[in-house]
Amino acid sequence: MIPAYLRALEQALSFDRKLAHRVCQEVEMHLLDAVAADAAVDRREAAHRAIARFGAPEAMARQFAGVSLIRHARACAASIVMIVFAVFLAMKARLHWYSVTQWTISPDDKSLAQVVLSIDRYAFWISVLLGVLGYLMLSPRKLVTADPRNLRTTNLFCALATGALALSVVTDALLTGLQLRGWEMGAAAALPLFTMICEIAGVGFLGLRLLWLLRRTRAAAALLGP
């Protein structure tokens, strides 16, 4: 009877596997303690009573859903802010490297580079703004009250910030291509290429993180209701 209840609880908490594993272990110990303390009646009846006191697995999972989603959305927004900062450092390192090596864009490409650069700047600052706003919308107080009201907005801001950052990285890659065009690919090109790979990896990680967040939210939506 207890294993069946724990399976149902794990299924209800499937929006957060790590949490489900932890909660099921805690609940199992609790139920075993309750059955052991209820020695006057037979064990099956004691287990039945202990499980009845816990209530429906879905009702319990619903209480976990708000906090779990808020925590993951906050972590996603924090990751965006950190990766945006890392991208900023990578861009600055590249620019510094170009000035040290005296690499310049060829005059033919300068007008195109200006357009790409302005798109890059706008996309980058939009991602900064949305990432910070997304993080601030879910204050730690929301964890105390498990209030999921701003969750959708934060998820939307996280998605838009990731999109804007991806655009910024694409334009960075274009600018790096323009910068390196016509120059011999030697050891000096290693730093710009390395920083570009780091930026792409950072955005890829954010994309995956966002995907997990949206999957969790979708899985928990049925529990939380409209």
Partner: protein
């Protein structure tokens, strides 16, 4: 009274759980039993509500938790108050004591003595 107003907006369960942990770290089952014993078996905290509350308070930084070994190669999750948790309890405890004394007065007015007065 302002403190009491603020307290009325806060879930009493949070303060109850924090107070149950004031004596020292404990696992979920022990918290339930402690609350039941303290209320003279009159109040039984719903088990299905306790664990989400513990998790929520932990995420909010008011509690910390760790696994400790239990018999039969199992583990128990033991919860303890953190510094902010102790601060929250010190802050909110007196307001709840105020509410409790008001309830005691109301209970007294509506209780057997009041019924005797009406009969007289």
């Amino acid at each position: 009274m302002q403190g009491m107003d603020r307290e009325r907006r806060k879930p009493p369960l949070d303060t109850m759980v924090l107070a149950a942990l004031a004596a020292g770290p404990a696992h979920g089952y022990a918290i339930i039993e402690d609350i039941k014993r303290s209320s003279g078996e009159r109040f039984a905290l719903p088990e299905g509500t306790l664990y989400p509350t513990l998790h929520r308070l932990e995420q909010a930084g008011l509690l910390s938790s760790r696994w400790v070994p239990a018999p039969a190669a199992r583990r128990r999750r033991v919860y303890a108050l953190t510094k902010p948790g102790k601060r929250a309890l010190i802050e909110h405890g007196p307001a709840w004591q105020g509410i409790a004394s008001v309830i005691a007065v109301i209970d007294g007015l509506l209780g057997p003595a009041s019924a005797r007065r009406k009969r007289a």
